[in-house]
């Protein structure tokens, strides 16, 4: 039983990341009808926003402390980060410690702007072209972004730790009335799950309960009619692209303590989240979220030793296998709408 719960929990954090990326992909596909292969790159840019903020907060100036000496007997040079000088040592330390959550504040405007630029500058010109062309141009963009990141930040993963209070594990089993220590779970992963649940909820609430969201949903159902009603639907769809980019960016920021970001992380996640979108059903938001969590949890079950002993190698291929089975038995995916991508 505790092994079961542990695997579900393990699946949740990966599933949340898949769900967040797949949500953005589906949002873009449902509104603009564009297959965005560069979405993983947006996730990665988000992750590197966290790296950048951590670096910025670490910028420091040198002072010479005459009271202390280094091992050569010279006066000791002390590096003081500017934030510590400005806000006092304790506050400064805390700000640095919390650099990853703080990066959310940075990433939302940055990603929103990038998404807006990308849509207006590049994607706009591809609405009338075939889906294959959209895949290809965004695939090219993903290569370029990955290589730019590599040129600026190097090829090695960069450590971005979570705030101190979230390091370590939490004994989840005790809450469920089990023995202490049976189900220990890293705190940050719980935070990640909670964060993504809130984000997904917020996106759905935005679409469901605001006038803006209502117009967007109407546009997804029938773009032409909404346009004929005198609503500038293009502007709203551009906004949705920015929103999808921001969601991907936030997912990236929060994932950095779990997996140190490197320049290939976007591609790794992209392939999987595309599979997730297709399993969930192109154009279905709840489908994307459901499939994200489902595949994440399935993957973590498949990596249990007991399962691997029966079917060796299953943990590596489970996602693709599920995708193939679903596509062949339910061609529109779990919750796909009729008439989407069926030319």
């Amino acid at each position: 039983m505790d092994a079961f719960i542990l695997q579900v929990l393990n699946g949740l954090d990966k599933g949340s990341a898949y769900a967040l990326i797949a949500l953005g992909l589906t949002l873009i596909f449902g509104t603009l009808g564009v297959v965005n292969f560069a979405h993983g790159a947006l996730f990665m840019i988000g992750a590197f926003c966290a790296v950048t903020l951590q670096k910025i907060l670490g910028i420091s100036f040198q002072t010479i402390d005459d009271t202390q000496t280094d091992f050569l007997g010279n006066p000791l040079k002390v590096d003081t980060p500017y934030v510590e000088a400005w806000f006092g040592p304790e506050m400064g330390m805390a700000i640095q410690d919390w650099s990853v959550p703080l990066a959310i504040l940075l990433v939302i405007p940055v990603m929103f702007f990038l998404g807006w630029v990308m849509e207006r500058g590049l994607i706009k010109h591809f609405y009338t072209r075939p889906h294959a062309d959209q895949i290809l141009v965004t695939f090219g963009l993903a290569i370029v972004v990955g290589e730019l990141i590599k040129a600026f930040y190097g090829a090695n993963p960069i450590q971005t730790p979570a705030p101190d209070m979230f390091i370590g594990t939490l004994d989840v089993g005790v809450w469920l009335g089990m023995d202490a220590g049976s189900v220990a779970y890293p705190k940050w992963r719980l935070v990640y799950f909670a964060f993504s649940a809130v984000t997904i909820g917020a996106v759905f609430a935005f679409l469901q309960f605001t006038t803006f969201g209502m117009v967007v949903r109407a546009g997804m159902a029938d773009r032409e009619t909404v346009g004929l009603l005198g609503i500038d639907i293009d502007k709203r769809f551009t906004f949705m692209f920015g929103l999808a980019a921001a969601v991907a960016g936030m997912a990236g920021v929060m994932y950095t303590p779990i997996l140190s970001p490197h320049y290939n992380i976007g591609m790794d996640f992209l392939v999987l989240s595309f599979v997730v979108v297709v399993v969930g059903g192109m154009g279905s938001l709840p489908g994307a979220v459901l499939a994200g969590f489902m595949l994440g949890i399935l993957q973590s079950f498949a990596s249990m030793n007991e399962v691997k002993a029966v079917i060796p190698g299953i943990d590596q291929i489970i996602i693709y296998l599920v995708a193939i089975i679903i596509l062949l038995t339910r061609p529109r995916g779990l919750m796909g709408r009729k008439g989407v991508m069926e030319e």
Binding site: I143, V144, V278, G313, Q316, L327
Partner: protein, 396 residues
């Protein structure tokens, strides 16, 4: 001639000459000169890659160019072909004939299975299905199939392998009935040295055969049928034609081309690894086809050649070479230029590739062949304009 119309025959002859004379044509600069060191491409290892990837992309083009089905998992067939060939080396002998035959057959069978399943869906679903199959093959080759693939180490021939057909004086490297693949003949003519290698010529002959076959397929009734599927599959079904067998045939042929390319890669260098099946390798195939021109006959070969050539050249250039080139400029300009170009050269080759690829997709959806046609059309139009002007003047 040879069942081709005169235009195709001319194209075919040009490709033959290019392929057979490549060791001379690709060495335009004296070997020891600075230009020669940077830009000459006429050495066997690189030329082999030109033709082998040419074969691969010709096959890919039969699927994507004719039917419009974008396969994102073509590298799987390449990898399977390589594994089959290396196994033949391990079990029989270093003779390349059984290796290449088996690699084509195995890749073909593999393509039948994957194609049968994937072709039940179209559009992006087809792309995702092929991608999923290729990723599965890659992951399995790394983990469960280690006895077959030797996992991360990669498959290679060891001394204690059976090699039952190995005679006492058979060469200990891939050979064609005693003709060793890596033996070569060097011709030195006043500063130029041209290298003619057996392995290259074997691959080039396969390229020519493959190219001929692809022309015949493009011009055949089957080719027409495949094109019709691309333009409107629904209408084909309404006409009462079952499109499945045609699609599967195209998929399998294209998989067999990839298997042949994989077998040849192994024949040139008898080892292989799972990374040949990784999805970036599939992406590279797509990039080559798009760059050259999808659906054209010669585009794929051109695309494969250009990408491999640029990869080789651009990765070789470094800051030192750039400084040499810009030495005539004032220092500050020299340094500024070098620091601008720096991210795009050497290790930054993929950045250049990505930008080039995007530019082609945005501005030239038909690839370089279309670009060439546009430029050609521009000049021709100008000429006719001139002629028209000429005709007008005397009338005045």
């Amino acid at each position: 001639m040879l069942g081709l119309n005169s235009r195709d025959f001319k194209l075919f002859i040009v490709v033959c000459i290019m392929a057979l004379a490549a060791p001379i044509l690709l060495n335009p600069f004296p070997t020891a000169s600075a230009l020669g060191e940077s830009f000459n491409a006429g050495y066997p290892a690189l030329m082999q890659r030109f033709v082998i990837f040419g074969i691969l992309v010709i096959g890919f083009n039969i699927l994507f160019g004719l039917t419009g089905y974008l396969s994102f998992g073509h590298a799987a067939f390449l990898g399977v072909g390589s594994y089959a060939a290396v196994w033949m080396f391990k079990l029989l002998s270093y003779n390349v004939v059984p290796a290449i035959i088996l690699s084509v057959i195995v890749a073909g069978l593999f393509a039948v299975v994957i194609g049968y399943v994937s072709l039940r869906r179209s559009g992006i679903y087809f792309s995702i299905l092929t991608l999923a199959f290729a990723q599965m093959s890659y992951q399995l080759a790394y983990s469960v199939f280690t006895p077959l693939t030797n996992g991360e180490t990669g498959l290679q021939v060891y001394n204690d392998d059976p090699q039952i057909l190995m005679g006492a004086n058979s060469p200990a490297s891939p050979h064609l009935f005693g003709l060793e693949m890596n033996s070569q003949y060097t011709l030195d003519i006043s500063g130029w040295s041209f290298v003619f290698q057996n392995g290259y010529y074997l691959s080039a002959i396969f390229l020519i055969l493959g190219f001929y076959l692809s022309i015949r397929i493009f011009r055949s009734p089957t080719g027409l049928m495949l094109r019709a599927i691309k333009s409107n599959q629904t209408r084909m079904s309404y006409t009462g034609i079952n499109t499945k067998p045609y699609m599967l045939a195209a998929f399998v042929i294209s998989g067999m081309y990839a298997g042949l390319a994989g077998g040849l890669l192994a024949a040139m260098d008898p080892l292989t690894g799972a990374e040949r099946m990784f999805w970036t390798a599939s992406g590279e195939i797509v990039v080559m086809a798009i760059l050259g021109g999808v659906g054209t006959l010669v585009g794929p070969v051109l695309g494969a050649g250009i990408i491999k050539y640029l990869e080789n050249i651009v990765s070789k250039i470094n800051d030192g070479i750039l400084h040499q080139w810009f030495a005539f400029m004032p220092d500050f300009l020299d340094n500024a230029l070098v620091s601008i170009i720096h991210p795009f050269i050497g290790k930054g080759w993929h950045l250049t590739l990505g930008l080039l690829f995007m530019a082609v997709v945005i501005f030239l959806p038909g690839g370089l062949v279309q670009g060439g046609q546009k430029i050609g059309g521009f000049f021709r139009r100008k000429k006719t304009d001139d002629a028209a002007d000429g005709a007008k003047t005397p009338a005045e």
